[in-house]
Symmetry: C2
Subunit: 190 residues, 2 copies
DNA sequence: TTTTGACCAAATGTCCAAATTAGTCAGTAA
DNA sequence: TTACTGACTAATTTGGACATTTGGTCAAAA
């Protein structure tokens, strides 16, 4: 194997999806960038969707690794959840592919893009759910429904980072941590 | 004044906007339903948007009244916030006009519909913010940023009522109250 | 056996004429 | 004079004929 054609294709497609999104990326274009015949792509991937899936699955794996790296076992559950969630949402802003995909899902409603967004959200929820289950077993937090708790945490995070910005000055990382602590971990009551 | 033409127009328009939404409602249609010439509409409202605004402002006022009615001064702040927010979101499901508008905003991105949705959201936020300020002054809850707190509460509510349903069995009213209490008012930590 | 690009059907985009629509205003009715 | 009307207009939207592009195939080349 002189050149890894599969890798060439995946790299070309990653570039194109990142720059133009799913819909505006054509198989002809990918073939040209990858320096292969279009037919070659179809010896590795049977549809455009399958090629896209391979790339987005890598993306999700990368996100998981980034989140896992943000966690520091010597810190508390609270701090770790904050670090992991913040890292994941930061990841979204750093990676052209996620930016493009979220934009495409929002603005053009491309089904393939929307499906990936859902897969990403589910992966994040599972990640947090897992951390919650472990924290419950270690007695670090109160018994609670992990499914519901991870859902509440993610929604709150996304709201504080992305929705709040639409009408207010962005919240700093520290402010977000404080808000999370105040509401989820402490409660408002006197 | 034998017949109140203005009222005829507003009633006709309310019906049409509720059934067909903003874009699919034509001024000819409103005139026909209201039994007036089209020109008459323009003696009361100078544009289609202005007619729409009058109707949506009434809607928001109605929502405020419904929310205010849900509040019982003898209950705690927590219970009242829950009752008011739940009532407002219930209102959305009961009133054809809000259903249609949210659908039109989501699916067709009609600017007029999206602006109303934003106005509704702001009205809800102001309503809760006001209740929070009062509760702080009465010493019922901890000192906190009312803007941020109302934002967090609304986002959490909408997530629990509308977003949770997309992948799970709907939560009962009582369950939602419990979740709110557990997270916002009590906190998770041991 | 692996790779290729010309080829195909289907999906998408491009026109443009015809239809629809928000808003006007000269005229009618009261 | 005043309140109301609907035919009219300019601008936008729609529908559909036609052209282009695109995902996917496959016979031939390497």
């Amino acid at each position: 194997m002189v050149v890894d054609r599969r890798k060439m294709i995946v790299d070309a497609a990653t570039n194109s999806f990142s720059q133009f999104g799913f819909k505006a990326t054509t198989m002809d274009q990918v073939a040209k960038i990858a320096n292969v015949g279009k037919g070659t792509i179809y010896t590795f991937f049977s549809t455009k969707e399958e090629l896209f899936d391979e790339i987005t699955n890598s993306l999700i794996k990368e996100m998981k690794i980034a989140a896992e790296e943000a966690i520091d076992e010597t810190l508390t559950f609270q701090e770790n959840v904050h670090r992991a969630l913040y890292r994941i949402l930061e990841f979204r802003l750093e990676h052209q592919l996620t930016i493009k995909l979220f934009q495409e899902g929002r603005e053009m409603r491309t089904p393939a893009a929307m499906e990936v967004i859902e897969r990403i959200e589910k992966a994040i929820l599972n990640f947090i759910k897992d951390k919650i289950v472990k924290a419950i077993n270690k007695g670090e937090i109160q018994r609670c429904d992990p499914e519901l708790t991870s859902f509440v945490m993610l929604k709150l995070y996304v709201a504080l980072i992305f929705d709040w910005e639409k009408n207010h000055e962005p919240l700093s990382k520290e402010k977000i941590a404080k808000v999370l602590e105040q509401y989820i971990f402490e409660g408002l009551s006197k």
